[in-house]
Amino acid sequence: MTFEPARRVRAVGPSGIRRFFEIAEERDDVISLGVGEPDFSTPWAARDAAIHSLERGRTSYTANRGMRQLREAISRYVADRFALEYGPGEQILVTAGASEAVDLAFRAFVDPGDTVAVAQPAYISYEPGVRFAGGEVLPVPTREAEEFRLTVAALEGAGAADAELLVLCYPNNPTGAVMERSDLEPIAEFAREHDLLVLADEIYAELTYEGEHASIAALEGMADRTIVVNGFSKSHAMTGLRLGYAMGPTDAIGAMNRIHQYTMLSAPTTAQHAALEALESCEPDVREMVDQYGRRRRFVLARFREIGMACFEAQGAFYVFPEVPDGWTSEAFAEELLREQGVAVVPGDVFGAGGEGHLRVSYATGLEDLREALARIETFISDHG
């Protein structure tokens, strides 16, 4: 008897970074700029709240939608930070990471055969998520010349008017691009005109270095048609605690909760206690981490400029997206760099259309390592010059 995976599962191959991971595993001198998670520890107060909740024996399920107090704290937080108005009762759903929230959105709103427009280069989990839900991804490429911001022209060119759902992720993984309010206005208008739902993955919202994060859901008429996803992984260095949330109109969150209540029941209780504390008292920790990332971003951008690798000025998340020199593919460059210099970066092509010819370089790594890694990249470039 063999288990033959369902067609939907077979359609999704192994991740593009898996092979690299295996090469990196073979040696012990690798400096990794391939990570998509903070190098900081969870703020102590949040860890302490998690420990305290365990000591008190608070280990039962919470309400399906998450602890009421946490939803109230989230509601206040997003109102203060991003001008988003969501009621804690029925418009917020606490999930096991932003990952679960994204998956629920796909499962709740994508029917088999539906197309989902995804601004690319994009986070690698969207496409498999859409496929597991039975849908198809319609890639909408963004271009370096436009600082990897999504444009209406790109939406029109890709035929996104007929899609069911549009996925936006700004600040962006992998490019580090942000969309300002003025960039979002025409996208919102396009969505309203063509009756598109929008999934706005704003997990990197706090990591915006110049100006303030703008959410498309805060634009006129958009709260009705947008699901906003956020979480604690990046902003509060809580990846392993697995806590995120979705916000949207009552009906939409209700539909997502229908799946969530049967598949997850509720997000991890310990993590919810940590998250509550994170919102209530860890703002200074967040500011400190963002300051550190901000410095590293400047450092890395300056070094790429000196090395002679073109790199647009990424303004968010903790990634930069330099171009590989002429004559290289992303994959060949990343593989040789790993083999020769022991520096791990992710080839841009794994992130879909528009990613080829680039590398995703994460600066969620200490400065000493960044300095050394950039020196090795410089050596690599001159060795092959």
Partner: protein
């Protein structure tokens, strides 16, 4: 303020090159150099030292924190006593503090005997000093804002999405 930022970075690592500092702050390298010169000239930066984890060195190094109580008379001030004590090379830090005692003094030596002798022969006899309480340092966990010990182990995966 760029002075503040440059200071924070130098406190993190005094060996950052001016080129690195320029990259980190997005200032011109010349501006960074000028800022550092200014900070040095005005005495805001009074020196650069290595932060040492003596426990990792095979040689013995003994350190003590000494609480000092003094009684002042008309002719003698705290500053006078501080000046006298600061001259001893064994004294690595000296601060006037509020609370149960007056001075907080850090002393270093090659052996416990040396440190004890220094306190009993050079410090205790100072006429204004009425009491000394010596605490030998057994283990240091953090110095100058830097955690000592095994160093951070990064157990993250080399690649993650």
């Amino acid at each position: 303020m760029s002075q503040r930022e440059v200071l924070e970075l130098l406190r993190e690592n005094a060996r950052y090159s001016t080129a690195d500092l320029a990259r980190l702050t997005a200032l011109e390298e010349r501006k960074v150099e000028a800022t550092i010169e200014e900070l040095e000239a005005s005495g805001v930066i009074c020196g650069y030292q290595a932060v040492v984890d003596w426990d990792r060195l095979a040689e013995e190094r003994v350190r003590a924190e000494v609480e000092l109580n003094v009684t002042l008379d008309r002719e003698t001030s705290y500053d006078d006593i501080a000046e006298r004590l600061s001259r001893f090379p064994q004294v690595t830090a000296l601060r006037l503090v509020s609370g149960d005692y007056d001075f907080d003094m850090e002393v270093e030596g090659d052996s416990m005997r040396e440190v004890s002798q220094f306190i009993s022969e050079k410090v205790a006899p100072v006429p204004e000093i009425t009491q000394t309480v010596t605490h030998y340092v057994m283990t240091a966990y953090k110095e100058n804002g830097i955690e000592l010990g095994d160093g951070e182990d990064d157990d993250r995966l080399a690649y993650s999405p």
